[in-house]
Symmetry: C2
Subunit: 204 residues, 2 copies
DNA sequence: GGAGTTATTATACACCTGGATAATAGCGGC
DNA sequence: GCCGCTATTATCCAGGTGTATAATAACTCC
């Protein structure tokens, strides 16, 4: 019985593959289904290799969580253009694929459920949440100024908390039960809701 | 070595204890930390007893999920009084203890993360979500009529989706990072936001 | 108070878990 | 082409997993 042949991957690449395989396993089998062996199978390597790239399974899980947060926040916080476009894009991006899909919410929930258990994950969560909300707060500040109704930090903070809650809530609903809504319905509801919350039309 | 003495509990009571112990373990150690043995220790019995009350661990988990949903929805959907009071209470109840606490959100997230994996849990989730949203939709319908601005089912549905999203989103934020908000701040933001969304003052 | 019922304990089993270790295959430098 | 380095594989380990089974303690009924 001869030994399996294999490919020596460049350092960063294999790490990335392992993290991606971890996320695949978590979303498909849940956190407890994401075993070292299952992850290795998914990545097309043997289980022992995991420990060559990560100090422990827990460390790999933490890095996977960072990857999830980055995927959820990067697209939404890097909107560009004038404030109106940016606000519109922010809402639309968060409520359409690829941000809004069942895989994302499964991953998000799996990690959220561990925030109470694992202080490392709790820290990663808080950092991501605040970055996201602060980006939204800045965006709202720009938007209100652009519309000729500038608002102070405290007012923008309250708007950001509310709109962040609204968008997060709709995101979860849409991800978990997308078939209960018509195409584009959640985006439409979100746009109308944000207009009502701010008391301003988004367009023009 | 003699056998442990024990107490024969009435049927329903022990089932309830086991489910409660299951939820304790999930919230404290996560889904994968909620092992049959750990749950038994928490309930003060031996592991074998679990299988005397439930066909399998999975079945017990499913029943535990039903209990969680009941705890989250019962209080909020059983508000009483005139429509104004009911809407105010609905918002306040969902954003203050005991509904809004870190244990609740940990449990909720743990199960949500399994919805994609386990069709049984998915069915339980959908049922609970729709019951909750429909209760809110009825409440909004009553509220709008009471305020002299009656709205049809489609309009109420859109309001219910938005307000449900808002409240859920704020609930998650508050549970996960309650220390980032001042006392009563989330309730206050939610009240103001609902008024803006409906375009009506809640009071008077 | 003795018999019957069953909730509960105790123990065993096959399998899976994350991690440690040693052998080896692929690849870069010379 | 060969050498050295290390990424990768293959095995092993102690402990934990859900579940099955048999013995027994607690309670009910008569």
């Amino acid at each position: 019985m001869s030994r399996r042949s294999f490919h020596r991957a460049p350092e960063g690449e294999r790490r990335q593959e392992l993290i991606e395989a971890t996320l695949d396993c978590i979303s498909e089998y849940g956190l407890k289904g994401a075993t070292v062996r299952q992850i290795a199978v998914r990545a097309g390597v043997t289980a022992g290799l995991v420990r060559h790239y990560f100090d422990s399974k827990d460390q790999m899980i933490a890095e996977a969580y960072r990857a999830v947060i980055a995927a959820l926040t990067d697209k939404a916080t890097h909107v560009e253009g004038d404030p109106v476009t940016r606000l519109k894009d922010f809402i639309a991006i968060n409520l359409t694929e690829p941000v809004a899909d069942s895989r994302s919410v499964s991953l998000w929930a799996a990690f959220i459920s561990q925030v109470r258990v694992d202080p490392v994950l709790a820290a990663i969560h808080r950092e991501g949440y605040l970055a996201f909300r602060n980006a939204l707060q800045d965006l709202l500040s720009d938007f209100l100024a652009f519309k000729g109704r500038p608002a102070g930090p405290e007012e923008c903070r309250r708007y950001a908390i509310a709109i962040n809650g609204l968008v997060d809530g709709l995101w979860v609903e849409g991800c978990l039960a997308g078939d209960l809504f018509r195409e584009g319905e959640l985006v439409s509801i979100a746009m109308a809701s944000v207009e009502a919350l701010l008391g301003l039309p988004i367009e023009s």
